[in-house]
Every structure is written in C-alpha cells, then in structure tokens.
Symmetry: C2
Subunit: 382 residues, 2 copies
C-alpha cells in the first residue's frame, strides 16, 4: 500500500553572509550574500532534538518531499519522507536545502554577482563539498538547531553527510551515508570530466557566458546521457530495454534504432530544461575534489559519539560497495558505532532512489533506536 504524501509544501529562502561578512570558502575566496533554498516538513520537538537533514545528490534540489501547489510530480525522495515513511514526518523535523553552486534557488553561477549586476558565470568561485556544508550550517543555526539527530543522503548527499561529521562532529548524533565514497576514484573523476568536456565543447557554452542567450543544450544533454549510463546497471538496462527497437527517427541524420538510445536522448533533453550548464561544471568539480580519505572523520582523543548506518548496493558500479566498506573501515578504526548494509539490488547507483522498502526498514529502525531508545514499540512493528 502506498503511504500518503505529506501534501502541499513550499520552498523557503534564507539569505546570509551579506558583505562585508561574506562566507570564506575553502579556497580562501569569499562569497556573499548567499541564499539557500530549503524546505522543512514536520515539527521540531520541544528539545529541538528531532531534526534530520536530508542532503541531495548532484542534480537534486530542496524539494525532497510533498507537492508544490499545482504540480503533479512530488519531491525527489517523496517515497522516503512523509508520514510513516523512512524519515517519518510525524516524528521528525526534516530539512533539505539546495547546495550552493546549484541552480534551484541557491546561490550559484547563474545568480547575479552583486559586484557586476550580471550572472556570475565563471566568476563564481570554485566551491567544495565543505563549502556546501558550511553554508548549510548557517541555515541550521538560523533554524535554532544545535544538534542534528541525523544527516542522510545518497551519492553527493552522502559526501555531504560525511563532511558534516568531519567538520562539525559535535552537531551530529548520527549519519546515514548511502551509495557514496570518501573520495572520488580516477574512474569517477573521468566520467565527470567527460561530461564537463561535452558541456564546454558546445559553442553555445561560450566560456560560461550564455545567460540571456542560447544555452549549451546539446553539450549538457550529452553530459547527462553519460551520467545516466553510470546510474543504471548492465542488468537493469537489460531488463528495461534489452535490444528492443523503437520507431526510427532520422532527426539527426543518424538513426535512433534501439529503445535505450531514445531513452538516453529523452533523459538528456529533459535535463537541459531544468539544469544550468555552469552548475554542472562547478558541482561535478566539487565532487571530484572531495577527499576525506586522508584524515580521521572523528577527531582522535575526543569522546564524540556519532552513530553510522552505511548503505551500499550490490550492482552500483559507479559507487561500488568497496567504497562504502572503506568508510566503515575508517569508522571502526575510531571505534565508532557503524553498521554496514549491502542491499541486493539490480538497479545500480539509482538503487538509492528506488530500493525504498529495504531502506525504509533499515532507516526507521536506526532512527527509532536513536531517538526513542530500543524500547520504542514501533521498532517491532516494522
């Protein structure tokens, strides 16, 4: 039975770091004012102890659950967030914010540079996952929350969860990094780099100066097509498409014979309507720069206690399970409470969005134990 949605929700905006108090980035450059688009669901409890921060993946946004007025498509993780869902909005106060560098309401390369009155384009400073998290920390402060019950996210969202722990361990009770890594491997960097090259090879990209003109849609669509191949698995593609033929399409002078080709073109074409090419460049670079492998996630010699649930998927070849195992190994060396689960799935990297039932069971259990203690009856209902 499909659980009900949280219903109509609204995106809110929080602006901070106005000059001369700009936020200092990891690179040393300054950025401000910064706006974060965010949404919240549920209610904060009396102790402000039930806040869960959901962190989005590469192309996500703040709209993680419920419906915007007039829309018939819910938020990107609506299956997981709402009444009685994995992040149960009857119990928890769920927050999601769009990252800086993005194009869904938060400050990014398509935002107006206050110094010029024009979009930043490539004048936008290099940003990192640490910068994204630092900006979110301002939002969490603004919401009056001293300690987050949980930070949770898949893919780049998982990197943010790990970064939250590394940067502000005392603000975090637990973290659920899903289908993610401590650092990008050369293969992962390579896929991102080819996507960036595809964007930059489009003459319409024009060194980032395309706002108000025609946009680098062909290049961005190709970048997205590459991404989509890596999000699925050999097996899930076989199941979905096999070698089925579609109607022939001579629009580009070379045929789209197979259904998988039509699917990729559709995914590419629809992505360019909702995403900014420069954000593609900045965010993929932030992901490639991410590397917590050389440091302790939790400072040594402290009595900090963060609980971890680390989830990987067997057919995920973009963020293979061995990368999640490396996270767990690092945590265990610091004697952290870390549970590792490898979910059987044929969906590839997309599994973190699709394996809702399995994830729900694991996450509800984990959060209930943390928030209510083991005696909470709901534990046994699941």
């Amino acid at each position: 039975m499909k659980k009900q949605s949280i219903g109509i929700v609204e995106t809110k905006y929080f602006t901070f770091a106005a000059p001369p108090d700009e936020m200092v980035l990891e690179s040393g450059q300054k950025l401000g004012p910064i706006t974060l688009a965010y949404e919240t669901y549920g209610e904060l409890d009396q102790n402000r102890g039930n806040a869960v921060l959901a962190l989005h993946a590469f192309s996500g946004d703040a709209h993680v659950a419920g419906y915007h007025k007039g829309d018939d498509k819910p938020g990107w993780w609506d299956d997981m967030i709402g009444p009685e869902k994995a992040l149960d909005t009857n119990k928890y106060f769920v927050i999601c914010s769009n990252v800086i560098g993005g194009c869904k309401g938060s400050t990014g390369p398509s935002s107006i540079n206050p110094e010029t009155g024009e979009p930043y384009a490539l004048d936008f400073p290099v940003i990192t996952i640490a910068d994204m998290v630092n900006a979110q920390r301002h939002l969490i402060d603004h919401l009056g929350i001293n300690k987050l019950l949980c930070v949770i996210g898949g893919s780049m969202g998982g990197m943010q969860a790990l970064q939250w722990v590394a940067a502000r361990p005392k603000m975090i009770r637990s973290a659920i990094p899903i289908a993610t890594a401590l650092k990008h491997s050369p293969q992962q960097i390579a896929f991102n780099e080819v996507g960036r090259q595809a964007v930059m090879a489009d003459p319409a990209w024009n060194h980032g100066q395309y706002y108000g003109k025609s946009r680098p849609e062909r290049g961005l669509a190709i970048a997205r097509m590459i991404g989509h191949i890596t999000y699925m698995s050999d097996k899930s593609m076989e199941t979905k498409f096999s070698r089925k033929l579609k109607e022939k399409d001579y629009s580009y002078g070379f045929q789209t014979d197979f259904e998988v080709e039509g699917y990729l073109r559709y995914q590419g074409d629809s992505f360019v309507k909702r995403f900014d090419a420069n954000s593609y460049l900045y965010i993929t670079k932030a992901i490639d720069y991410f590397d917590l492998s050389g440091q302790n996630l939790i400072p040594a010699g402290t009595n900090i206690d963060v609980h971890f649930l680390v989830i990987a998927f067997q057919s995920d070849w973009l963020y293979p399970p061995y990368q999640s195992q490396e996270i767990v190994r690092k945590l265990k060396m610091r004697h952290m409470d870390a549970t590792y689960i490898e979910i059987k799935s044929t969906y590839g990297h997309d599994a973190f969005l699709l394996e809702v039932e399995e994830e729900t069971m694991l996450i509800r259990h984990f959060l209930n134990r943390l928030y209510y203690g083991t005696g909470e009856p709901d534990l046994y209902e699941i």
Copy 2:
C-alpha cells in the same frame, strides 16, 4: 626477453566489386568498387593450410605487426604477431585487413563515391559486421585460400571471428574470439550512442559534410574519451592515476586538475588526428547491430567441425566474461570443441592488447595442436 619484430612491412590494397558487380550488403544496398587495405606476414605453406586471419577492433587497421618504413611505432598487435610469437610468422601466414566503413585505406564514408566524385559522407550505406566479413571473404578468395586455419580477434575483431564462422563455417578450422560478445547489450549500445551523439553535436560535423573543411574534432575527441574510460578498469585507473594532480591548465577555462583528466584529453586529441568521425558513426552502428544470439553459430545437422578458444578477462566490464560464457554455452549446445579461459587481469577491456604472455601461451598451444597435431615438440616447450 622481448621477441624480435617481423621487421619492415607494407600495406597492400585489393579492389573488387566494381560496377555492375557491386557487393550486395545485408541491407540490400549495393557497394562497389570496394578497396580493402591489408597486410600479410609469413609464407603460405604448400597446402595453403596455414593462413590465420587477424581481425581488428573498432579503431584498428590492417597494420597489425612489424614497422612501416620510417615509423618507430609497430603495428597494433606486434607483441602477438611475429617470429616465435603467439601467431608465429615462421609457421603461419598471417593476414589482417582494414574493415569496410573504416578510414585506414579501405572503402568507407571518407572514400570517393564514384557516382558523385565527392566523399560518400552519409551517402555511404549502412554496414554490418556481416558486410565487413563478406568483403574480407573476397580478399581471402583472391589470396587463393580455401580454408583458414584460424580467425582471431578481440572486441569487434572477435565479433568478426564469430561472424566468419556463422557465414562460412566450411572455410574455418578454428576461431579465437577474445573479449567479445554474441550481441551488444543495452549498456554497450548506450556507450556507443553517447559517443555518436557527441560527434553529431559538434557543429563542424555538419550532417557528415565536413570533408575539405574543419572537422568535428571536439566531438570526436569526447567520444573517444568515453571509449577510453570503458576500455580501462576502475582498478587499472587507480593504479595508473590514483588522484594525482597534474600541472594546472586553464586552456578551456576550467581546470585540468587530475592526471586522469589530462590523460583523457590527450587520448581524445590524438585520436582525432587518425580517425574519421563518420567512420566512428558507421562502425559503432555496425557493432550495435551485431546479434548472433538468436541463431546457431554452426548449422545443425552438418558435420562441420570448428575448434574454438574463447578468452575473456576478469576485469573487463565493457565485454564482461558472462558474454564470453554465452558464446561457449551456444557452442557446447552444438557439441563443438570449445575451450573457455578467463584470464586474471586488472587491465579491463584493454587486457586483450596487454596480457600478451598469457594469451601467447594459450594461442600457441591451441594453434600448434591444430596445425601439427599433439605430437609437435614445440607444444612442450611453451
């Protein structure tokens, strides 16, 4: 000790199917005249029974071994072909021809269309692996060979080997398909399709009409970069590059930070100097169309006896071992003599070019047994 090279070699050309006797393609269209660029090494024995046809992969050519006069780079499989090598030119007569549709001397989209006096471009007919093999069959007839001791190739070369068996089983004593498949999976089609899209998105492609003008170099380079990622493995990229940084390069306005990025750009840029973008489109389509999974490789009810050595590599995720196992399963159902070997390697798909020692041992043994019978002393020296 590195074995010696066969030395200086020359590419030869064979032209046939001149109008009105054009070759009929699988599509029903006609093509002619057709030129095949080819090379041969070693000598035919008295019975013309020692001919081995080496078949090249997607971007290969007829120059498989030895050196062209003045060149310091040998043929693409020189490690495997020459005196005392896997295909021992002291024993066997080795032939390699460039495929039709290609751009290395054989008739392809960059060749002059006799009807117009201009390059074919997209007027070149759709070609298939069966058409490539059919053209080669004319060359083999021309060389006076009734039966090939062996057809051997990796990747698309392996598809041609399988197609040779399917089309002309009585002309084949043995086949060695390496790192290949009976058909392209949707994931394999998807990677090819993104490459084609990258080529066609380049405005210089101009619906294939770029000969004598500026060529779609950026698009073709991106296509090649995608290919290169799929030819390596996660592990081999980690070994080769890890997260090492290179000198910063601002040439495209976005940095090349990591060595793997510089490597991919270099591979892309050097590929466009030696390959034609329209050949990229035609040959990848031929590969995607290839599908022998629905038919018997060897006709039922015949006493045809072809011996098979099927080789796969553990870390090859582009042509995973399960695809080679499917070939073997099909052969075993027809009671063929088929040996399956899965070589331990971390090189990914590139392994068929790099795991020379292991391949040499297997292939020398296999060919010796076939050609000399089991009593041949060299069998025990290996």
